[in-house]
Symmetry: C2
Subunit: 565 residues, 2 copies
């Protein structure tokens, strides 16, 4: 069974469900005409289906490996990467001044969805390179931009994010990597970083590391951190890879999945780097890079879910156990729920991307607030759906799903990283109820007002669906008010279920819109979502409001199982 | 972090939550005194923690392999198996007439919980051997019993179940393996079987295959199937392994997990077998074997969940990110919910085992009905909890959870088979709403009456918890009535959420009992379960009652993603 890129699904969402027409109507994105968008998606779909998807199994079976300190990529990955680079896909949303196409993030994220569905391990490389491009565009000096951006955009060079250290994961501020000022304006970077995705490879001629480190006069915690660009080979006067920098790959991690993506332990031993942004201002640059990557990771979840579900549906059509199992009510329940959740997660991700685009197009703060609010939801819900649907894929395959040869298990093993990296889903949820409600709930309420207004407007056409959505949104509004009155630890205890409830309501909202605009299959799927997925918001919100007290009442001993005989 | 067998938790449940005291008070199980039970559990706990748990990683890292047609087990597995056998653990509940100890299944399942938590791959061997012992005890001739039972019970020989074929998984009746009558009363078996767990090994001197096959005059479907015992080596006159039978291991499956458990493709080429039970009566014997194994698989889920949670708690105590992460509200929420679910799943499994014991002790049909009703719930909920908690374990570890060296990922990969084998969880749920409600709901209602009565009795002590449990049980009763009025396809569409709701209500019921009997930590855990896990019954039951119509309205094309642009 081969992956078919969901071009039509994405086009429907862009045209009818999220404000992409508004994006395309703006001056900034005037080039994103319907024809261009359609051509872009069609071409990306072909690349994903024909070139990238065939690499997915080989990446799993023949992992990237370390040979004499150099990473050897999985078979075919170099060619796959070149196809991505030569198609211009890395720079799809990058600044035209430095070789990018300047097209909307909504299109870029749609492409990320398709490419990660085809081959997650490989797609990670352009995704992280794009994150670095964003960081440089926003924070680097003109000279750095001129030197690095064209090469990153063209895919001659690739980019990485070096945040994590053994003692500094979710707590970035605990990092110990040091930066010292050199006389020539560059810096010497020393320290160890872990979990560096595509930290080295043979698919590009240079690898540019964006490394968080602390200057001698940097404050403790996150406020004393700076971001540096540390290339594997220092560019010479012509901007070509020159002498090797003082850095190396110590080892590769053996992981549950994404075997085709080399996950490196990196050692910097006085490596030469250049400041991105200002000294001690590394967190701002890091967030630029991470926000892009967070939404991208949400789309990875959606993409893998799509691929896993397609395979499960094809298997369920073929597999005959007293008739094709796709006719068995429970199998159909699993597949239909999965399809409805994929639609919801995809729409949330593309709505987030469209908000980013509208902010860029209009400069209006409320679009920025919308994008910021939707990012953790898109990341956490997209990746949860990725895991859930890949799990469904295994289950639908029965014993065949547990055997590696079908590939169903690979989707589950691969996608399982997505709720962890770029900030665990727990961190996303804390970001949502903490930082993203710090505006007093303005962004949340503005979004819920839209959901409520839409539901009212839909009452004439689909009273049953509209009423459910309205009621859920209203309950969510009350729960949001309630949360706003609580202190952070109490909010944090309910953060994940709150995020889940928000995702259900948004998912139902977008389904309702699709049902109104598309009818037919869209209406049928909306009924499944509103009937089976949405109603779980009530228990989510009850849990979100339950607070911390019952959790603290369970002792550490009891958690371990020492609960008395 | 090393696994500590949950001896005290199990003792508490046996003494205070499930009717084990009633079992121990019966004549049949008079030997199961509190002292004996305690000694048994303590010894099994030592074996699990000290001997089996240290094998778990090596089984993953050095999978069983096929060499010249023979299976070579993972390092240390042979010694581990011998320790299980020599401790008498295989025959714990087997008939004393043939070397068993005749102790209750409640103790046997508690031991299965601990041993599978320690090393799932290895524990599968005794679990399946026990299933074969049960089948022989109930259905075999006296001569077969005398020949095979002592050797299986002692662990000199091991037993397998050969049900599945490439075209016959959930639809057992589709099998094509043939049996022909030989002149001497034996049978010649020809066909291929797949997914045969421990289909060969070097840990026992003989492997006895229980093989489903069809005689020439066997009807189509399940009614024409017979069960045969087909030993790897045909016993000679002294009952020692003699000439090799005409069977072979064709290959081993490469699986997502349980690498230490060899999963064989078996070929029978006119192999000599002996009938278990009567001709064409194979399904009855198979169900004896499977029911035992189903409950055992439920306990596997519980056991792996226990091990995964212990490791996650230990990690969360050590891992410092702005304080130990076990103090972070969201991490604590994950851990406390997991602990509460493990308690619930363990209590449901042991309640099922106690019902089996009471049926054997008293011969009363209502105990048999209780056991039959609880089996699919114990299997499906136990294994779902296994997957959920192992997943939580990975998430709590963050990036470390995705890296294989911590072992957190192994728990998830290993336990993922449990919702599939011995009948997928979907099949369990269909069994529950189909066969197990075929008594007009009598067993279900009898169980719910107990839950309701208990909740009423607990109202004085814990009104908040008792009211929640009572309300949930009452809603479940209504939903059960509703389901009884529907045809099977409609029931099947709601089978899984119905089973989940039933598990939540039973879990809350047992938690309430524990809170009343134990107070302290038990009360704290009960609050977590009743506050966070139970409330999801409402959405489950809404889905259970939603029926099939909305699912059928989604076309196959729409499931695949062709939903129109």
């Amino acid at each position: 069974m081969s992956y078919v890129a969901p071009v039509e699904q994405i086009q429907f969402i862009l045209n009818h469900v999220v404000p992409f027409p508004e994006v395309a109507a703006s001056d900034r994105f005037a080039e994103a005409t319907p024809e261009t968008a359609s051509a872009i998606l069609t071409e990306a779909g072909k690349l994903a289906g024909n070139v990238l998807a065939p690499l997915n199994r080989s990446g799993d079976e023949t992992p990237a490996r370390l040979e004499n300190g150099k990473v050897r990529s999985s078979p075919g990955f170099a060619q796959g990467f070149r196809a991505i680079a030569e198609g211009g896909w890395i720079g799809l949303s990058a600044d035209p001044e430095h070789g990018g196409m300047g097209l909307p993030q909504a299109l870029n994220m749609a492409v990320a969805d398709m490419m990660s569905g085809a081959c997650l391990s490989l797609q990670l490389n352009p995704l992280l390179t794009q994150g670095q491009i964003e960081a440089l565009e926003h924070h680097a000096s003109d000279e750095m931009k001129a030197l690095y951006l064209p090469r990153l955009t063209s895919g001659e060079w690739s980019g990485t994010m070096n945040l994590t250290e053994p003692g500094a994961g979710s707590d970035v501020g605990a990092l110990t990597t040091r930066a010292e000022r050199n006389d020539d304006g560059s810096y010497a970077i020393t320290g160890q970083k872990i979990y560096i995705t595509w930290g080295d490879s043979d698919v590009t001629e240079n690898v540019c590391h964006a490394v968080l480190a602390r200057l001698p006069d940097g404050a403790k915690g996150t406020r004393g951190i700076s971001l540096f660009l540390v290339p594997k080979f220092i560019p010479d006067g012509d901007g070509r890879p020159g002498v090797a920098n003082s850095l190396k790959v110590v080892s590769l991690e053996e992981k549950m999945g994404i075997h085709g993506s080399p996950t490196c332990v990196m050692s910097y031993e006085g490596a030469t780097g250049w400041l991105i942004g200002r000294e001690h201002g590394g967190m701002a640059a890091m967030f630029t890079m991470m926000n892009c990557a967070r939404l991208g990771v949400g789309m990875q979840g959606v993409g893998v879910a799509e691929a896993a579900l397609q395979q499960a549906v094809a298997y369920a059509q073929e597999r005959d156990q007293m008739g094709p199992i796709i006719r068995h009510p429970d199998v159909r329940r699993m597949l239909a729920t999965a399809r409805a959740e994929i639609f919801a997660a995809r729409a949330i991700g593309l709505a987030c991307a469209a908000a980013i685009d509208l902010e860029r197009a209009t400069g209006q703060a409320h679009h920025a607030a919308r994008a910021a609010f939707l990012t953790p939801i898109a990341k956490a819900y997209g990746t949860d759906v990725g895991c859930r649907v890949a799990d469904t894929g295994v289950q639908v395959h029965g014993g065949m799903g547990y055997v590696e040869e079908t590939g169903a298990a690979q989707y589950l093993r691969d996608v399982r990283i997505t709720p962890i990296y770029e900030g665990t889903n727990g961190i996303q949820a804390m970001d949502l109820v903490g930082r993203k409600l710090a505006d007093g709930g303005e962004a949340a309420m503005r979004l819920l007002d839209e959901v409520l207004d839409d539901a009212k407007a839909a009452q004439a056409d689909h009273p049953d669906l509209a009423n459910e959505v309205w009621q859920a949104a209203e309950t969510l509004r009350e729960a949001t008010q309630d949360l706003l009155e609580r202190d952070l630890p109490q909010r944090f205890a309910g953060a994940v279920p709150y995020l889940m409830a928000f995702a259900r309501v948004l998912g139902a909202h977008f389904h309702l819109r699709a049902a109104q605009k598309g009818g037919g299959s869209h209406l049928a799927l909306a009924r499944v979502f509103v009937g089976r997925v949405l109603p779980r918001y009530a228990a989510d919100l009850a849990e979100a409001r339950a607070g911390l007290d019952d959790l603290v009442a369970v002792s550490d001993d009891a958690l371990f199982g020492r609960i008395g005989a």
